[in-house]
Symmetry: C2
Subunit: 264 residues, 2 copies
């Protein structure tokens, strides 16, 4: 009986990008796949409302790190995917943002493929493009710039990516993910290139009710980030387009006045 | 009576990114906004199935260019937005991909704002990140690269963006949008830097049933694009990560054999 049942199972790994935070920023395709999942392995940054799309009888496991709680290693997650796909069929890996943008989704697919498990990818909104947009900042703007560059602040070795020094020399809007703890280092790179008046923004918990944003220039952003209490996870947006934010002009005038005041 | 009615109208412009093609790749938030729209102004690259979410009584106008038919200028679109928002309230601008990634969405918002019309942005999946993902190509991969760079192939002046020469010197995965007609120019930039073995892919009509893909290196891609008949609109993906495509290895061996054969 058990054997006959197993024969009918078609193991499938579906990687879904949940988007930047707001549960309504998942795709329709993502919702449809969630509603057919037998098992969902979800990351800590995924909004819990998304689990409402999953059948009640399905298995839901938090595999990501949440403050204080233990998490699964990447190797353990890989093994869970294979185990559950073989046992139950449709396994969904639900990841924040997009699974292929600094998401390690490829590693999970490669592992599962070794065990003959088919896969599909349902892309999600990456925070790098969607969070600036939600704040009224267009990463590309005709007549201002012709490209944008997305860099990780934290590489495999834990260091700041050396690509950031190159990016700082280009005209591209630069978005740094996972770079909050490297902010001072990033600022000093831009300052050393004489770009201390370049606009910069930090966005924490983007698209969620507890969203925080700090706006300024390379000169003023450090103080502004402290004042607003912007922590992790946050994205950093660097470039002239940041001045499109509705509060930017007001903010920079306020910061100028504060600096002048503190000098006197 | 008419006056009282107009008083109740709250003009609102909602910019929605429809995603790369497949109508299921729009966000849930986008669907909800479409279902409340009084007027939808949509681009030619938007899938017509998305109009099924719009109430039957609402106005739907194609404002983008479709082969052979006349299109509205950007100025005419701006004026339509203001006119309809004042008359009917909720106006949706439905654009392919993401409205803030080479989408000119910002210009429409700026124009409407001048007339006191509020706005909101609902980001969409940009083809630059989502189409490679759907083909199994992860734009960033641990141990391979630490960034990706998205550049337009066609600037305001009609020329290839000079950012591409810079990007070609970086380790970033480079994605060129609207660059199909500049392919030879792009190849020659990479070849001049000695990167003739770098993997490259072109994807046309990504995420749709008529999707086409060409895979190769800087040396072989031109012939492969011809053989596959890859036209516009297409995106170009350049970088080592392109070899993650399931067909890549097979393709490059086949191309090598063909080249050797034609030499003999």
């Amino acid at each position: 009986m058990m054997k006959a049942n197993n024969k009918n199972i078609s193991p499938l790994l579906t990687l879904i990008g949940a988007g930047p935070g707001d549960p309504d920023l998942i795709t329709v395709k993502g919702v449809k796949a969630l509603s057919k999942a037998k098992v969902v392995l979800y990351d800590a940054l995924v909004h819990l409302d998304l689990l409402n799309y999953v059948p009640e009888t399905s298995i839901k496991i938090l595999v990501g790190k949440r403050a204080g709680s233990l998490s699964y290693t990447q190797d353990e997650i890989n093994k869970l995917i294979v185990k559950y796909a073989k046992k139950y069929g449709r396994v969904v890996r639900l990841k924040g943002g997009d699974p292929f943008i600094f998401g390690r989704g490829k590693e999970e697919i490669d592992y599962a493929t070794k065990f003959g498990i088919k896969n599909e990818v349902i892309p999600g909104l990456t925070s790098s493009t969607s969070l600036p947009a939600l704040q009224g900042i267009s990463l590309t703007t005709r007549g201002v710039n012709e490209s944008f560059w997305v860099v990780t602040g934290t590489t495999q070795s834990g260091l700041l990516s050396s690509d950031i020094s190159l990016a700082a020399r280009s005209t591209a809007t630069v978005v740094v993910l996972m770079g909050r703890n490297k902010l001072l280092e990033i600022i000093s790179i831009y300052k050393s290139l004489g770009r201390e008046n370049l606009p910069i923004a930090l966005i924490q918990n983007g698209s969620l009710p507890n969203e925080k944003i700090a706006l300024g220039t390379m000169k003023t952003i450090e103080e502004e980030v402290c004042r607003k209490g912007v922590g992790t996870p946050a994205i950093i947006v660097i470039g002239e387009v940041v001045n499109q934010h509705p509060d930017y002009l007001f903010k920079t005038i306020e910061q100028k006045l504060l600096q002048d005041y503190s000098k006197n």
